[in-house]
């Protein structure tokens, strides 16, 4: 399996590096490189050990006192001693079983028991590689000298040639790894070319876009936005009519509050806007913590945002109503005012008034880029106005308890002025 072999590769490469370091150092430099922890004179113990057991590998790496190392690896059918293949094995054969049994035993024990177990290990009879391992373990662990054991049949002069062969083998491994890395560079180059092509296409599109639009383009854009605004206006007016029809008293309560306590409503609304999200989270947490509140959490999660949205829309419509009413009061006097004095009319004119800045902005957009700054200013003012209306409306809903307790203007003494009762028209 590729992944598991990758893990085994890591272990084997580490083992190879350790062995190479030990061989190159010839026992002079400690393999861990720890300056504070120099080998003690005359020590022959195991300084460090690493045992790896998996489906494809059973390996042992020992670092011995004096800087020597021993690496025994049974992996993918090969028996390796300090990186050199000394024989073969099959998965589940006598050597594989005996070696795995040894490693499984010593994985749990301390250093002294580890040494004893390694020395006492007996290879299966008739297996040449096993016999060599057995001999090496006894000699190395017993004497703490790895080179002689790793090269039991060689002459002293063979050391250099074997070392050179091992270095060549490791260099080959490095080259293979570099070759494996090359496709990544190819992929990077390919990605770079792809990005360059995409950027070129995008730039061409932008050039075309810059050169194409003319007067008609701006007019078309402005008209499409105006059409969207008209649709928005129609939806808001429809909602407003529904609000007037089903709850005029409450809508008027909100409208009165927005008119007569505008600053208070605005501040309350602004604070409410900021507190909506924290209140939602804290409420949910409080319900979640309390055991009895958990069923209510099911209602809280969908209903809180819905209620907040409804309050925002209702407040916006209330302010629109107030704006329409205020406009009517300024435009018409006497009997004409009475004719126009109905909530549907207020809603029509009020919503139009609140969206007028958007409409003006879109009209200026039709004129093209020459009046772009005016369009920008109008659009900015429209957004600010909308946010302010939303805040005032939401605040008015909060202050008037959804219109049930409206804040009205100063009361007029009936003895001074006694206007005739006016019955508002209930149709447009």
């Amino acid at each position: 399996m590729r992944r598991s072999s990758s893990a085994s590769d890591t272990t084997s490469r580490r083992a190879a590096r350790l062995v190479l370091a030990a061989l190159l150092a010839s026992g002079v430099v400690a393999a861990d490189g720890h300056a504070q922890a120099q080998p003690r004179a005359g020590e022959t113990g195991v300084v460090s050990s690493q045992i790896s057991i998996s489906r494809n590998e059973a390996a042992l790496v020992l670092e011995l006192a004096g800087g020597d190392s021993l690496a025994v690896q049974l992996r993918e059918g090969q028996v390796r001693l300090n990186g050199r293949e000394i024989g073969t094995y099959s998965r589940g054969d006598a050597l594989d079983r005996a070696w795995r049994e040894l490693l499984n035993r010593v994985i749990e024990v301390g250093d002294d028991e580890l040494k004893r177990a390694l020395v006492e290990w007996e290879a299966p009879a008739g297996n040449e590689a096993g016999a060599q391992l057995d001999r090496v373990l006894e000699e190395v662990i017993g004497r703490g000298a790895v080179e002689a054991a790793a090269l039991p049949a060689g002459k002293p002069g063979d050391t250099v040639s074997i070392l050179e062969a091992r270095i060549a083998e490791l260099q080959q491994t490095i080259e293979e790894l570099q070759r494996q890395a090359e496709p990544d560079f190819d992929r990077i180059h390919e990605l770079r070319r792809e990005i360059e092509r995409e950027v070129a296409r995008e730039m061409a599109r932008n050039r075309r876009a810059r050169s194409a639009p003319g007067f008609l383009h701006h007019v078309g854009s402005g008209f499409s936005k105006l059409f969207s605004l008209v649709v928005t206006y129609a939806v808001l007016v429809a909602l407003g009519f529904a609000a007037v029809f089903f709850g005029r008293r409450y809508l008027e309560g909100v409208a009165d509050t927005a008119r007569h306590a505008t600053l208070r409503s605005g501040l309350v609304g602004l604070a409410t806007l900021f507190l909506l999200v924290p209140a939602f989270i804290l409420g949910a947490l409080a319900l979640a913590i309390s055991v009895v509140g958990i069923p209510a959490l099911v209602l809280w999660v969908p209903l809180f945002p819905a209620a907040a949205g409804a309050a925002l829309v209702f407040g916006y419509l209330g302010v629109a109503h107030a704006a329409g009413e205020s406009l009517a009061e300024r435009r018409f006097e006497g009997g004409e005012w009475f004719k126009r004095a109905n909530s549907y009319y207020y809603m029509l004119t009020g919503v139009g008034l609140l969206l007028a800045l958007f409409a003006a902005s879109f009209v200026f957009e039709m004129a093209g880029p020459w009046l772009g700054f005016i369009r920008g200013i109008l659009l900015f003012l429209a957004v600010v106005l909308t946010v302010a209306v939303a805040a005032i409306g939401l605040g008015a809903v909060m202050v008037s308890r959804a219109g049930t307790r409206p804040v009205t203007g100063p009361t007029v003494d009936d003895s001074i002025v006694s206007p005739p009762p006016v019955e508002e028209e209930s149709d447009v």
Partner: protein
């Protein structure tokens, strides 16, 4: 909480979120090293999900670590260089790990000879950490969604300058903190129950800064240790049993005459804060 801890916790949540199919290639790697006069051992353990056991090793050893992991998804980390030990498991690049059955196991035994600086981070792990008798100078423990038991069952021969514990969504029980010989304890808790048991052999004063999110905090304090609690919080009721209010803080009756003093500064949001008094030689029993 550090971004690394959050990442570990996130990865750990993914690990426990969904079951996975298929078989694993379970590997075991053991690495050990003898103590050879190291002046200090810096231990850096990063462990995503699974079971983590840390305990004192035999004299003469520097460390011994055994990692059992799914080789299809993870790579073991057992590196030692220049007095620094790195342990743990790393997920393989490009491998999506799902399912609790991938959870690894890490057993670590640290030798009692070398002074230690421990940095331990784990995600969705069940951790049993016994540091009694070890020579610990600094320790940082960061947990994600874990169940952690930290014990100092034997006195720490060294003065532990800083013990920094970050707890995500976890249950943490720290026992024998008196044995830890801590100068400065910091606990940053997110969501969960935290029990800090200050029993043990006190040899110096201790200051504890505790920042709790949502959950309960229980302080188990042996009688005879002077306790001063300064609490700042929101919706976090404080059970001040055995304490008197003096100015902004709560003091134990023997604060002025106590041989050793524990100052606890608590900043808590939601939850409860409780103080339990125990006899000096008794370690709090598990609830």
């Amino acid at each position: 909480m550090s971004s690394r801890t959050l990442a570990l916790a996130g990865a750990a949540l993914v690990l426990v979120a969904a079951p996975a199919m298929g078989t694993q290639d379970w590997n075991t790697v053991t690495a050990s090293r003898a103590y050879r006069g190291e002046e200090e051992l810096r231990v850096d353990i990063q462990f995503g999900a699974g079971r983590l056991f840390l305990q004192p090793g035999p004299a003469g050893s520097l460390y011994k670590a055994t990692v059992r992991y799914d080789a299809d998804s993870f790579l073991p980390v057992t590196e030692y260089e220049d007095g620094r030990l790195r342990l743990g498991v790393e997920s393989k690049r490009g491998v999506k790990v799902r399912g609790r059955q991938h959870a690894s196991r890490l057993d670590v035994a640290l030798g009692p000879d070398a002074p230690l600086a421990i940095d331990l981070e784990f995600g969705a792990a069940q951790a049993d950490i016994e540091l009694g008798g070890l020579r610990i100078r600094r320790a940082e423990i960061s947990t994600g969604a874990s169940e952690t038991t930290l014990r100092f069952s034997q006195p720490n021969p060294e003065r532990l300058s800083v013990l920094d514990i970050e707890v995500g969504a976890a249950a943490l029980r720290a026992e024998g903190l008196g044995n830890a010989n801590v100068e400065q304890l910091t606990v940053d808790g997110g969501l969960g129950d935290v029990v800090l048991d200050f029993s043990g052999e006190w040899r110096g004063d201790m200051t504890a800064d505790i920042d709790m999110g949502i959950g309960s905090l229980t302080l188990v304090v042996p009688k005879g240790v002077g306790l001063h609690v300064v609490k700042d919080g929101f919706l976090a009721p404080f059970d001040s049993e055995g304490l008197v209010k003096r100015g902004p803080g709560y003091y134990s009756l023997d604060w002025d005459s106590a041989p050793h003093r524990l100052t606890v500064r608590i900043d808590a949001a939601f939850g409860s804060i409780n103080v339990r008094w125990i006899e000096p030689s008794v370690t709090a029993s598990r609830p």
